[in-house]
Amino acid sequence: MTIPTTPGREAAGPAPAAPGDGPFLSVTDLRVRFTTEDGPVRAVDGLSFTLERGRTLGIVGESGSGKSVTSLAILGLHDPRTTTVSGRIRLGGREVTGARERDLERLRGNTMSMIFQDPLTALSPYHTIGRQIAEPYRKHTGASKRAARERAVEMLAKVGIPRPRLRAGDYPHQFSGGMRQRAMIAMALVCDPGLLIADEPTTALDVTVQAQILDLLGELQQESGTAIVLITHDLGVVAGAADNILVMYAGRAVERGSAAEVLGAPRHPYTWGLLRSTPDLDSDPDEPLRPIPGTPPSLLAPPPGCPFHPRCAFPPRVAGGPGRCSAERPELPEGRGAACHLTADQQRAGWSAEAGRAGATGSASVPVPADGGADLLRKEGDR
């Protein structure tokens, strides 16, 4: 997978562990299925990606897209009684899928670790911050209680907690929201993991604190060369923090590429829709937002073919007719690309037309749906 890096991050200096010596994490054809009372739910359906050391992969999707399920599958945290995980996950050359629970325990918190959305509930209310940070360090390095405590204080200082020695004795409820997420990061990085999965790490935080935390994650990555999987619903968050982006919809990856490519020249109609419907600080605020009509599909009975086709305006433009979108599942190519039946040219031209950029070649080849908000609303209502 050769993806050009964004110029900004390259300018920030190479990571200590040079990227390029093979992917640190590789996920191949991951499928996660839940057994529920209403039937099997295909939460993740054939997901593949790779990630190198020192790099950040942003996985973007709305609720139910399978992005969080993916992270739990990598850590092997799903309940085996209700969940079937298939496919291959390799971490640092080791097979993770099918590994024994004891071996997984040795990897978790050590080689791969995770931070969660809400640091208040994700930290134990019954133990001090220092103890919670020291706990995985003791387990994975066999350090003494005193050494682990010193390490916890060191980590707290590193993530910017003032008076770390004193604050290590505090409980999470005595920390503010931003400090809790810092403590969470300290805990996840205490064993210098090769992979950090951050599942909506800033969604529960205020915007000024979010900016601090994202910058902090970036700086720590520069130092340690950790590979980061950043899972979020917020395109803005991945835009600032990720090298590469994977867009997920209904359990499948629909587009992949570098951050600049996916956000600057997106190829999949769903990504177009996401970008169009996200309010920003630059576009004309008096123009209505252009939402994606309809609602995400139920994973109990996903639509056949392309999961996005019921909400998509482009099936009529597809070579082979609109029936192809509901019959044939488009594959996501290796490297840069989108899982869409539109030809590569149509995909490129599509965004130019969507974004309404003047002078874009072939902007007339794909018509933009005339979507006054009211039309779309009615469409949803009839559903």
Binding site: L77, R81, E105, R108, M114, A122, L123, S124, P125, Y126
Partner: protein, 325 residues
């Protein structure tokens, strides 16, 4: 902590004052005249008057209450003799100080209640957590349905049945009796084993179900998932991270259950004819022994309120977010 204790003790005093007033006025305004009963068959009005004065019921009820309350704090003098503080009066039946009789009977009830609580807390929590850990398996199903059946076993029904089976039929256990713990610990244990088990059956069943559900809830908590994501072993996750949180609702319910625990202990005493406060209370009702009844009531209320203060203090031990004030 000190502030908490002082504040709660003040509150407890107010509650006790209300309870004492309510029970006193209720008991002492019943239509039956205890003096008439005590006076006997050949009672003259003069003799009745003397009996009344000796009993301390010759004055209007509010005045009696006042004397009763000052007696508790300062002691008082009766015709039959002095009654040092805390004076709960003299028994109408055998003219012994109520306080002494209560002190005499109290250890039996405490032994029963504490022992019973120990049984149902350990057995109930252990089986409940086992069921939670083995959720969905045969073990879980047997424990869950078993506890459902047991939770309908009443003491007065199971008690006699248990004696018939374990004492007379199988001869595994000795006849329930009360021996002072300080005199003969082994005898104390052997004599109370059957009552403990019978008393704790329903509680055990309820605590099993409760421990199971709170534990399952805790295992789904975010911070428990974090512990697993840190690489903690299942056992560590279970006992270090999930267990503590599951205790909080259990402690809450235990505080509520204290009253029924004392009640259960009293029924158990009656079922197994053990000399405790429960039997004393029942005897006092049949004899219209008002001072004794009043004393037992007040004593039990005090004990339950004190236990509740302890339970609240335990919260702070379990959960650092709870601040006692």
């Amino acid at each position: 902590m000190l502030r908490f204790l002082v504040r709660r003790s003040l509150g407890a005093l107010v509650i006790l004052l209300i309870i004492s007033a309510l029970t006193f006025f209720l008991f002492y305004s019943i239509p039956r005249d205890p003096a008439l009963l005590a006076c006997g068959k050949n009672c003259t009005p003069e003799a009745l008057e003397v009996v009344r004065r000796n009993m301390g019921i010759d004055q209007p009820v509010p005045a009696q209450y006042w004397e009763y309350m000052t007696g508790i704090l300062l002691g008082r003098d009766y015709a039959v003799g002095p009654c040092p503080a805390p004076c709960l009066g003299y028994s109408f039946v055998d003219n012994t100080p109520v306080w002494e009789t209560i002190l005499d009977r109290f250890p039996t009830t405490v032994s029963l209640a504490v022992g019973g609580a120990a049984v149902f807390l350990t057995v109930g929590l252990a089986t409940g957590m086992l069921a939670a850990a083995r959720r969905g398996t045969v073990v879980d199903k047997v424990l869950s349905s078993g506890s459902l059946v047991l939770s309908s076993m009443q003491i007065y029904f199971v008690g006699p049945l248990a004696i018939a089976l374990f004492v007379y039929q199988l001869g595994w256990l000795s006849q329930p009796r009360y021996v002072e713990l300080t005199e003969d610990p082994a005898g104390w244990f052997a004599g109370l084993l059957l009552p403990w088990c019978v008393l704790s059956i329903i509680f055990t069943a309820n605590y099993t179900r409760m421990a199971r559900s709170t534990m399952i809830e805790q295992l789904q908590e975010d911070h428990v998932r974090t512990a697993r994501a840190k690489g903690m072993a299942r056992r560590t996750v279970f006992f270090r991270h999930a267990w503590r949180g599951s205790l909080i609702p259990i402690v809450t319910i235990f505080g509520v259950d204290l009253g029924s625990l004392f009640g259960g202990a009293m029924i158990t005493e009656f079922t197994f004819t053990l000399p405790g406060l429960g039997r004393l209370a029942v005897e006092s009702v049949t004899n219209t022994n008002l001072p004794m009844l009043m004393g037992v009531m007040l004593f039990a209320a005090t004990a339950i309120i004190l236990c509740n203060i302890v339970v609240d203090a335990v919260y702070a031990l379990i959960d650092p977010r709870v601040r006692l004030a």
